[in-house]
């Protein structure tokens, strides 16, 4: 007798779920769905839903030669020299559903003092990885008083503009993951991992038999490394310290870069400006190559593995059909060593009101003498 309405409810719920999946994208559900389902959605449905992604047999076809650099539009990883390769061909069990993963152990490390890094030992292979933005935000973040003050100001501005509102959750301060698959098994690997900006966790995935001698973390704000043997030394030189040492990472622009576009199709003044800019870039590339070779024994531009937009880089050769692929190691339950700011929090693991949003609201309330409504400064005209 009530089979009809129940069927209607089931059909409605399925349709609602489908619409929500299409509208919000699968990443919105990673907190609620099992990892296996998320991997399925990421690998299949997720890509199908993302209209900008392309598919094909040639990984190069999934690489966009854009005005701001090379961007992976599909499951493509970067080999040394920025040669593209399909991710499943180099790493097994790969997934991007890391947003709610909770590490098992966090150890705080500090940046080195000075500018000199420990050079690689003779006979080691140097792997050089660069990372742009990946969108793989993790569940933990770090911040300082300046971040809080900026968030309070943003909250106050929004409150004045549109009335009661929720403070930001500081998601832009979350560490972002980048995956490094090590397939080099012939020699210990000295990893130079270079971040463009923000807080970065480098997640290391080793092929059977691969060994890491030392890890150098360059650039960005705060950095850390996950799934690395605790005995492997890690040295950190953040972006500010690099700048203080006079080191400016620079690479030759990709063919589709806006500077070449200006040289091809720009007006005479645009071309002159582009030529000047290109010359400046080449100077910087030369200077960075010199420093890199002096520090690590290899040039930066030729060894670089990492697109401006991408999530995985490979250190070592592309595994053959029988070669050992790297094995994916998740952030869930991982050991992480990282640098951190005055405050560090793991979402869902802090007491109510002591998370980023809670602190922002508490500060704003305190500054407003306990009455947020006074922020409005309303006068009726």
């Amino acid at each position: 007798m009530i089979r009809g309405p129940i069927s209607l409810l089931v059909v409605g719920a399925v349709m609602f779920g489908g619409v929500a999946l299409v509208w919000l994208k699968p990443q919105a559900f990673e907190r609620y769905l099992p990892e296996r389902v998320m991997a399925l959605l990421d690998g299949g449905l997720g890509q199908a839903l993302n209209s900008t992604r392309r598919t094909g047999d040639n990984p190069g076809a999934l690489l966009d030669d854009g005005a701001d650099g090379l961007v992976a539009l599909g499951p493509v990883a970067a080999l040394a020299g920025n040669r593209p390769v399909f991710i499943p061909e180099v790493i097994t069990g790969y997934g991007t559903g890391v947003g709610s993963d909770i590490p098992a152990e966090i150890t705080t490390i500090r940046p080195i003092s000075g500018c000199r890094l420990t050079p690689p030992l003779a006979g080691t292979a140097v792997g050089h990885v660069t990372a742009g933005e990946t969108g793989l935000r993790l569940s933990f973040l770090t911040y300082n008083d300046s971040d809080l003050a900026a968030a309070v100001q943003g909250f106050v501005d929004r409150y004045r503009e549109s009335g009661p509102t929720a403070p930001g959750d500081g998601s832009e301060l979350a560490y972002e993951a980048y995956d490094v698959a090590v397939t080099e098994t012939g020699a210990p690997v000295y990893l130079v991992l270079e971040n463009a900006r923000g807080n970065r966790i480098w997640n290391i995935h080793l092929a059977p038999g691969a060994r890491v001698e030392r890890v150098i973390l360059l650039g960005g704000a705060h950095a850390g490394v996950a799934n690395l043997d605790p005995v492997v030394p890690v040295e950190v030189l953040p972006g500010e310290a690099l700048a203080a040492c006079g080191i400016v990472p620079a690479y030759p622009p990709n063919p589709g870069n806006r500077v070449f576009a200006a040289l091809k199709t720009g007006s005479a003044s645009d071309k002159a400006a582009a030529e000047a800019r290109l010359a400046a870039i080449q100077d910087r590339v030369g200077a960075y190559n010199t420093w890199f070779r002096d520090s690590f024994g290899v040039p930066a531009d030729e060894t670089r593995a990492g697109f401006a937009g991408g999530t995985v880089s490979i250190v070592g050769p592309q595994p053959g059909a029988a070669g050992p692929k790297a094995v994916y190691a998740g952030i869930q339950g991982a050991r992480i060593r990282l640098t951190q700011d005055s405050y560090f929090e793991i979402r869902g693991q802090v007491a109510a009101g002591e998370d980023f949003a809670g602190r922002v609201k508490a500060i704003a309330t305190s500054f407003a003498f306990g009455d947020l409504k006074s922020l409005r400064q309303e006068v009726g005209f």
């Binding site: 809080l148 003050a149 704003a364 500054f367 003498f369 005209f381």
Partner: protein, 263 residues
């Protein structure tokens, strides 16, 4: 089954009509509670506005904002504003027993508490020419916080309603609105330089003197006033004043067919 169907139907209707009703209610024009709040209950308008337009001495329509600033004394209007840019010490922002926060928070503290440094200004207006006054905006000037000196610059906007003039406005249709700018500069150490309140008092006196001038006609009123005050530096202030003069000979008025600029 039938009951379930009817029940479901009623539920859907409730939700549907409820949503439609809510949308309708949301789109209704809002009443003006802010105006009610701005004007004290029972307070009679200073002057009954007989017409909502004024003409300039050249025969053109006076922009509506200026007309409102001059005529609409029953409510605050944005164009009748006292804008003060002043320096203040950050400790002035604190409550008793409170201490300044870490330097990173000084800018946002100053921004949130900026209205506090306007405390005395409204009182000066109320004691002289206003029957009502409110801080409509108070902000710290971006990048002006000096953690070493413990100071910051603030911009404050205060809106006010003039006291009842005691005399009726003349027939607006037979008058034109004239305006002028009154300037004031006070040297450091002179009367009116000690504080923003003193500078405002000096400006109000200057306005009163200007309004009493021979060339000024009837119902002279202050409009927008600006004060720039930094300790130890000359005070710079100015005020717009407006008054009514009889229509020049040969000029006749007719109600406007088009709205005034800004109206």
């Amino acid at each position: 089954m039938l009951r379930i169907l009817i029940g479901s139907g009623l539920l859907l209707m409730t939700v549907g009509f409820g949503a439609a009703g809510w949308q309708y209610w949301q789109t209704l024009p809002k009443a003006a509670p802010a105006q009610d709040a701005a004007a004290p209950a029972g307070a009679a308008p200073v002057v009954a506005t007989r017409q909502s337009w004024l003409i300039s001495p050249t025969g053109g329509l006076v922009p509506q904002g200026e007309v409102n600033a001059y005529l609409a004394q029953d409510r605050f209007v944005p164009e009748r504003v006292l804008r003060v840019e002043r320096e203040a010490t950050l400790t002035d922002l604190l409550a008793e027993g409170e201490q300044l926060p870490e330097p990173a928070f000084l800018q946002v503290l100053a921004d949130i508490r900026a209205p506090k440094v306007a405390d005395g200004l409204c009182q000066v207006l109320l004691d002289s020419l206003a029957q009502d006054c409110a801080v409509s905006a108070g902000r710290v000037v971006a990048g002006s916080v000096d953690p070493v000196a413990g100071t910051a610059r603030f911009t404050l906007d205060l809106v006010y309603r003039l006291k009842e003039p005691g005399e009726e406005l003349p027939d607006l249709a037979t008058h034109v609105l004239r305006s002028d700018l009154v300037m004031l500069e006070v040297a450091p150490g002179a009367d009116g330089s000690a504080s923003p309140d003193a500078a405002l008092q000096a400006l109000i006196e200057t306005v009163a003197a200007a309004c009493a001038g021979e060339s000024v006609g009837q119902a002279c009123r202050p409009m927008r006033m600006d004060i720039d005050w930094v300790p130890g530096q000359p005070v710079r202030a100015q005020a717009g004043i407006a008054w009514l003069d009889p229509l020049p000979k040969g000029m006749f008025t007719a109600p406007p067919l088009d709205p005034a600029k800004g109206g």
